[in-house]
């Protein structure tokens, strides 16, 4: 059965049709063609599909599209505002925090969620917050450094 969903994605009010069993991740990627959000596992173990759902960090693969009726979804594609990169995006670029880049959308969304509730996290807090985001290329070092640098930027008003 197809269901009509009204929702807000990256600030834009959208309506779409979704099969009842379809996940938010599949709806984003296959229906709305918003492929910035990646699938690494489909079972909530890698964090590549991290999105914000009504301000809460979730894996889009573990949310049904039907559940976002009336809700607000933020993805990596809405991170840059009016062409201006978010401090996290800038720091990831400057800090070489990505190699292959496929985990990057998930890391950015998750890190943004962290900085919103904790603008001055310790290295350990960043590592544990991001433990659900797997990266196989970087060994995490440059990701953690870039998040800490971006946090300083945000605190300093650079963002």
């Amino acid at each position: 059965m197809k269901r009509h969903i009204s929702t807000t994605i990256d600030g834009e009010a959208l309506e779409f049709l979704s099969e009842d069993g379809q996940t938010l991740l599949d709806a984003l990627r296959d229906v709305l063609l918003k492929t910035g959000t990646k699938e690494g596992c489909g079972t909530g173990d890698c964090g590549a599909c991290s999105v914000m759902l009504d301000g809460r960090l979730v894996c889009a693969c573990l949310v049904l599209a039907a559940e976002v009726e009336g809700a607000s979804v933020e993805t990596v594609e809405g991170l840059a505002e009016a062409g201006e990169l978010h401090p996290l995006q800038k720091r990831f670029l400057e800090g070489a925090a990505l190699q292959c880049g496929v985990c990057t959308p998930g890391f950015l969304v998750a890190a943004k969620a962290l900085l919103e509730i904790n603008p001055d996290p310790s290295e350990k807090e960043v590592r544990y917050w991001l433990a659900g985001n797997l990266c196989r290329c970087t060994g995490y070092d440059k990701i953690i450094r870039s998040v800490l640098d971006a946090a300083a930027d945000v605190r300093g008003g650079a963002g």
């Binding site: 099969e19 069993g21 599949d26 990627r29 296959d30 063609l33 918003k34 492929t35 910035g36 959000t37 990646k38 699938e39 690494g40 596992c41 489909g42 079972t43 173990d45 890698c46 590549a48 993805t75 990596v76 594609e77 991170l79 840059a80 990169l85 995006q89 990831f92 670029l93 400057e94 800090g95 070489a96 990505l98 190699q99 292959c100 880049g101 496929v102 990057t104 959308p105 950015l108 290295e123 350990k124 960043v126 590592r127 544990y128 991001l130 433990a131 659900g132 985001n133 797997l134 990266c135 196989r136 290329c137 970087t138 060994g139 995490y140 070092d141 440059k142 990701i143 953690i144 450094r145």
Partner: protein
């Protein structure tokens, strides 16, 4: 090349050209492409580790509404069977063809047996359930001792080993032997001899992006593939070969690649997607699930290494002897050759011999994994080196330095080394503050050295000069870890222009010349050489244009810092690249160049790592608390991405050492095909990974580049294991060092009073 040369861009850390796309979600990876007529392809996989396929009934699946094509192995041409039979079963193309889809037998849990294409993923999944396969389950072999047993079931009953005189059919695909001198003589000269046996388990590269492709075919036989791989020419060549299509009819468009580490140097889905597309007349998209990645793509498999090393009282190595068995999976083809070649490579051994066996088992066909074969060999050798140093009461780094390979040393794999940085790397470890930092209770420190050859191979590149003075570079290598940046740096350095004025495009198989895979740590080295050659060609053309403008002999014009100068002087006013580019149309037409080469003079690489661990004596849990990676990069073109390779390799190796392993049940099925129970390190598992880049330039490369991507996974396993020994007094010869195994060994040691 003089070391004093000042670079403008080489050694700096500019932002990668593809960066913005990758932080905004715009970059398109394998699964991100779609076409309006697209179907979804799914694969039915064997539930058995070893079974004869008696029949496959596909009628019900084909009849399901929304299903447009169903295929089995019968739909694929069997082009290489004859050659394989004639060669005793050894034909790589035949192996690849039969791995892509099983024909008469399913050889591992996850082996593809049929596929469907339907209008949605869900319908395709349902169709798979309607395919009825009748199997005759056969006894399976899962590990080396079982596979070598006298009465072992044979994975391929008709296959005989290469490298063995008058072989009977067995599960040994190949035997090889190498070395120099006479180990017996060397052991006779030794004061200390240590002999140990080591084992490792299958591990997966664990790239985050599952394999994915989209195939479009036309009735006149043309094929277009969008595919994520380590080499789109590899995808083109393999797909065309397996389906018997002219290469000129197959165009492969490289997607961004979400990690590979060697695991994406072969094809799994593409020939199936093309077949389904041809059958259905629609384009077909295929994406593996994570479970399929673990079950059906190539990991690197288990190994057993028996090693004997002799040394004099003064700490000089006299002899080494190793027997290496590597599982190659269902078709053989393990990395045991590289294991044999690398195991003794970092040191000067007067007498050395290694014998390798490539063993077939009912597991997925193994694939390359970062310095294939070397980490397991280094685990064995570097653990024994640590024990020898302990026995001789010599500092482990000093002991290694006494024996370290240098220019002119006869390498254990044959030739004499050219200029290498093994000694310099070890000295940097010895001098690093980490090496002498204090440790707390239950903590220990380990060091280990690692070697990898690196590769040259074939590369093509194009350099197009644009009328505004910017430069577009075409590369044939997918950018897996920032290579667009290093290639752009070298082009900007050559031309003497702004880095931002160079853009690098990974061009498809129709747009750039043949290029080997992004693998073997070769892109910055080899494709970089092609780009440098093409850039120098363009600069030569620019000098000629300037000579024409000035009406002088071309020999009098040369290129300096972004401009053509007459006799190197300032009069007449030099012509900048931008000025020459702007007027190219008036001076002879557009300017571009291509270069295609087999890269020579690859610089072999050494890395040495320092690892501190803390071991919980009550639970056996090992925490890595400090880590430093040191490596000779020759020349770091973009140091951030060199460090990134070192850090990423270190953490992959830590995972391999501590927790990663495939678990098989009694039926040969993979029990942990997901990231929950196949435990790659998460961010909170590891500390910052400090790096030291040593630069002993490779004389054969214009900038001194050595490959850097693979070396970093070689030292971590023994570095961790040696650190655990230092913390607990217990030596580990079997991976991984998961808490339960560590605790069991600590108990054993305690009850025997040896720790």
């Amino acid at each position: 090349m003089s070391d004093e040369k000042k670079f403008r861009w080489v050694g700096t850390r500019p932002i990668r050209p593809d960066g913005i796309d990758k932080v905004t979600g715009r970059a398109q990876y394998g699964a991100d492409f779609a076409l309006p007529d697209m179907l979804w392809g799914r694969v039915l996989r064997s539930p058995h580790a070893h079974a004869r396929i008696l029949s496959i009934e596909t009628g019900a699946a084909a009849a399901l509404e929304g299903v447009h094509a169903v295929m089995t192995g019968q739909d694929l041409p069997d082009l290489f069977a004859e050659k394989a039979a004639a060669s005793g079963g050894h034909d790589d193309s035949n192996n690849l063809a039969h791995n892509v889809m099983a024909r008469d037998k399913a050889l591992y849990h996850g082996h593809a047996v049929a596929a469907v294409a339907a209008t949605s993923r869900e319908i395709a999944e349902r169709a798979l359930e309607l395919i009825d396969v009748e199997y005759e389950v056969l006894p399976h072999v899962l590990d080396i001792p079982t596979a070598l047993a006298a009465d072992a079931p044979l994975v391929h009953p008709d296959r005989v080993a290469q490298g063995i005189e008058n072989p009977e059919p067995s599960n040994i695909a190949k035997r090889l032997e190498m070395g120099h001198g006479d180990p017996e003589e060397g052991f006779a000269e030794a004061d200390e001899i240590i002999e140990r046996e080591f084992s490792t388990r299958p591990v997966h590269q664990g790239y985050i992006e599952p394999h994915a492709c989209l195939a479009q075919t036309t009735p006149d036989g043309r094929v277009t593939l969008w595919s994520s791989s380590q080499g789109h020419f590899m995808v083109r060549d393999y797909t065309a070969k397996l389906l018997d299509i002219d290469l000129s009819l197959v165009r492969v468009i490289p997607a961004e690649i979400g990690g590979g580490f060697g695991g994406k140097t072969t094809v799994y889905l593409e020939p199936i997607a093309v077949s389904l597309s041809r059958k259905s007349g629609r384009s077909v998209k295929m994406v593996m699930s994570r479970e399929e990645v673990f079950r059906a793509s190539g990991p690197t498999l288990g190994t057993r290494i028996k090693l004997k090393v002799g040394v004099t009282r003064e700490g000089v190595l006299t002899a080494g002897e190793a027997t290496l068995h590597y599982e190659g999976g269902a078709f053989g083809g393990s990395s045991v050759g590289a294991g044999c070649m690398t195991i003794f490579a970092p040191y000067a051994f007067p007498h050395v011999r290694s014998t390798g066996y490539d063993v077939m088992v009912n597991k997925p066909k193994g694939a390359a994994y970062r310095a294939p074969g070397a980490p397991m060999a280094a685990f064995a050798l570097e653990t024994v080196m640590d024990e020898l140093a302990q026995r001789l009461e010599i500092d482990p780094v000093d002991f290694r330095l006494r024996n370290a390979a240098k220019e002119g040393t006869l390498a254990s794999f044959g030739p004499r080394y050219r200029r290498i940085g093994c000694v310099e790397t070890l000295e940097a470890v010895r001098d690093h503050p980490h090496y002498s930092a204090p440790l707390g209770p239950n903590q220990g420190r380990g060091v280990a050295l690692g070697f990898w050859f690196n590769a040259g191979l074939q590369s093509s590149a194009g350099v197009n000069l644009n009328p505004d003075g910017t430069v577009t570079v075409l590369s044939g290598n997918p950018d897996i870890g920032g290579s667009r940046a290093s290639l752009a740096i070298m082009a900007a350095e050559e031309f003497g222009i702004e880095y931002e004025h160079v853009d690098v495009m990974v061009a498809d198989t129709h747009a750039v010349g043949y290029t080997d895979v992004t693998g073997g740590s070769r892109v910055t080295f080899a494709t970089g050489m092609a780009i440098i050659e093409a850039a120098r060609d363009v600069m030569g053309q620019l000098c000629k244009r300037a000579a024409a403008v000035w009406d002088v002999d071309a020999e009098r014009v040369s290129w300096h810092e972004g401009e053509a100068r007459l006799d190197g002087g300032v009069e007449p006013a030099p012509l900048s690249l931008a000025a020459l580019a702007k007027n190219a149309g008036k001076t002879g037409g557009p300017i571009s160049a291509r270069a295609a080469l087999t890269a020579r003079g690859v610089g072999m690489g050494f890395g040495a790592h320092i690892c501190d661990v803390e071991v919980d004596p009550e639970t056996g849990k090992v925490d890595v608390i400090r880590y430093t990676a040191v490596q000779d990069a020759g020349r770091a073109i973009h140091p951030s991405y060199v460090e990134g390779q070192m850090q990423g390799g270190a953490v992959q190796g830590i995972g391999w050492a501590l927790n990663e392993e495939y678990v098989f049940d009694g039926e040969g099925r993979v029990e942990n095909p997901g990231f929950l129970d196949y435990r790659i390190p998460v961010a909170s598992d590891v500390p910052m990974i400090d790096t030291v880049i040593v630069e002993v330039p490779n004389p054969a490369h214009p900038y001194g580049v050595r490959g850097v991507g693979e070396v970093p996974i070689v030292p971590p396993i023994p570095a961790v294991v040696n650190a655990v020994h230092a913390a607990t007094g217990v030596r580990f010869c079997d991976l991984p060092l998961s808490p339960a195994r560590v605790l069991a060994r600590l108990d054993e040691a305690q009850s025997s009073g040896s720790a």
